[in-house]
């Protein structure tokens, strides 16, 4: 059973914009998958289908082994947590703790369990000190963490994030990367949409490249070495690969790159 199976998915917005044009893809359980694509490639629209927020206009979406509809949607949303691109869209309550409690309360949990989950999620995201702060009083990085905490408090087995690195400073991106590694180690399937190729290269197991509402390519991160493919998708190769382009080395992160450079210099 796969975490996500999409077959020939089409979606057109009411204004006539064709966002998805026959997308088919498979994402296995426990994968770290990145949907890569330029703006307008259909990434966000695709993610909205994973949580049942958009019904397929045509095609089939199977999440965690089944197609979901009607009264089952609440169960789907408990199992698949979605973090939106702009945390201001997600953080609507007057305090961070209230916002994090929103999801668990919607699941009908008793108040002591709700508070337990709120504490656990805030602790996991290292933002316990922000619990009673109003969301709009936070930095963007803190808002992103609060938004993720709000989803984690529902204890989903699959996490879907839309442009999680957008507008974050480098330190916040580093924190986010560490956090995503931790969440993955806890056994979650994680799917994220981004146009940040460097982030995708360092973090993902599986890459799916979208272009104009269609899947251009799908595979492991070696896809990101194909400059012609990336060019077609209006993307740039990862910086590390550009630096090491004419060498046999393909460092996955800066630590590996440092090691290669050190070894080369020493030899």
């Amino acid at each position: 059973m796969n975490a996500l199976e999409i077959t020939d998915l089409h979606y057109t917005y009411p204004d006539g914009t064709k966002a998805l044009d026959g997308v088919s893809l498979t994402i296995p359980h426990y994968a770290r998958t990145v949907l890569l694509g330029a703006n307008g490639s259909g990434k966000s629209t695709l993610l909205l289908h994973t949580n049942g927020l958009l019904p397929p206009k045509r095609g089939r979406v199977q999440v965690l082994g089944q197609e979901w509809a009607g009264n089952d949607m609440r169960r789907l949303r408990e199992r698949v947590g979605m973090v939106f691109q702009d945390p201001d869209d997600q953080l609507f309550a007057t305090t961070v703790a209230d916002d994090v409690a929103f999801g668990p309360r919607n699941l009908g949990l008793d108040e002591s369990t709700v508070q337990e989950r709120v504490h656990q999620a805030l602790n996991e995201l290292e933002i316990l000190d922000l619990a009673h702060r109003p969301p709009h009083n936070l930095s963007l990085g803190q808002k992103k963490r609060a938004a993720i905490a709000g989803v984690l408090a529902m204890q989903p087995e699959m996490l879907v994030l839309d442009e999680p690195t957008a507008s974050l400073d480098p330190l916040a991106v580093r924190h986010l990367t560490t956090l995503l590694h931790t969440l993955h180690r806890q056994g979650r399937t994680i799917i994220l949409a981004t146009h940040n190729v460097d982030f995708a290269y360092q973090w993902a197991d599986q890459v799916i490249i979208l272009h104009r509402g269609q899947v251009l390519a799908s595979g492991d991160i070696t896809l990101l070495q194909d400059e012609a493919l990336l060019d077609k998708a209006s993307l740039e190769p990862p910086l590390l690969l550009q630096v090491f382009r004419d060498t046999p080395h393909r460092p996955r992160n800066t630590a590996e790159a440092n090691q290669i450079i050190r070894n080369t210099l020493l030899s």
């Binding site: 609440r74 609507f92 007057t94 305090t95 919607n106 709700v114």
Partner: protein, 250 residues
């Protein structure tokens, strides 16, 4: 004024400790509303002034600074002044002391209601106020609208500020002319359209976390005898004013 400043202003005195801060929010709101309705029914300007005195005393004893009250009164004083001027100049009653008396009565009632509302809002965090509205079983739709308005009004104001800076950066100087009206009109329209898009996203984000149209909050704290006593005292004081107003022998 930034979002941060607005929020700080709203919750500035919410963390203090006073009899009003410790009052259970639902009872406090209920008693406050009863007091305001009672004051609206008063016919004597003197008793309306006494009611304002009680409201101010309640606010000050809640450790809200007098300056906090007065700066908020300043928002309504121009409207009251126009009303008083209109009534004293005639207003259907003739240019007499009667018009001025009526203006005084209306002003006292308005300031009393405002003071009570400021005290209700200022002596608890915004979140507690929203929770109380939900727990009072008010219809979900207006409570949700109020909650979202409180949250996104700040975003809206921030965005307006950013746009004003963007105008200034491109040497735009507002003048009393058609172009300025047109620029501000277009900005307002685009912000409203943006707000519409955002509302759709906010709704999606809420639905993604299991929202089904019903706002669920933490259970209310139990009402104790002290809360009840405060409520009884508040209702009794306005009842007393009404009885005196209607000529009952006390």
């Amino acid at each position: 004024m930034s979002t941060l400043h607005i929020q700080q202003e709203v919750d500035t005195y919410a963390g203090l400790d006073s009899w009003m801060h410790r009052w259970e929010p639902r009872l406090k709101i209920g008693a406050g509303l009863v007091f305001v309705v009672g004051v609206v029914l008063l016919q004597s300007p003197l008793l309306a002034a006494v009611a304002l005195g009680i409201a101010v005393a309640a606010a000050v004893s809640s450790r809200l600074p007098l300056s906090f009250l007065i700066t908020r009164w300043l928002w309504v004083l121009p409207f009251l002044a126009i009303m008083a001027l209109s009534l004293s100049m005639g207003g259907g009653l003739g240019a007499s002391g009667e018009g001025l008396t009526l203006a005084f009565l209306v002003s006292m009632k308005a300031l009393t209601a405002l003071t009570i509302m400021i005290t209700l809002v200022g002596t608890q965090p915004l979140s507690a106020l929203m929770n109380a509205f939900t727990q009072m079983r008010l219809p979900h739709l207006p409570v949700m609208a109020l909650l979202l308005a409180c949250r996104y009004l700040f975003c809206f104001r921030d965005e307006l500020q950013v746009r004003q800076r963007a105008f200034a950066a491109r040497a735009f100087q507002p003048k009393p002319n058609r172009r300025t009206v047109s620029v501000y009109g277009e900005t307002t329209a685009s912000m409203l359209l943006g707000a519409l898009d955002r509302s759709e996203q906010v709704h999606r984000a809420m639905v993604a976390r299991g929202f089904d149209g019903r706002l669920r909050t933490s259970p209310p704290r139990a009402i104790n005898y002290t809360d009840l006593a405060k409520g009884v005292f508040s209702v009794a004081s306005v009842t007393l004013l009404l009885l005196v107003d209607r000529g009952f022998p006390i």
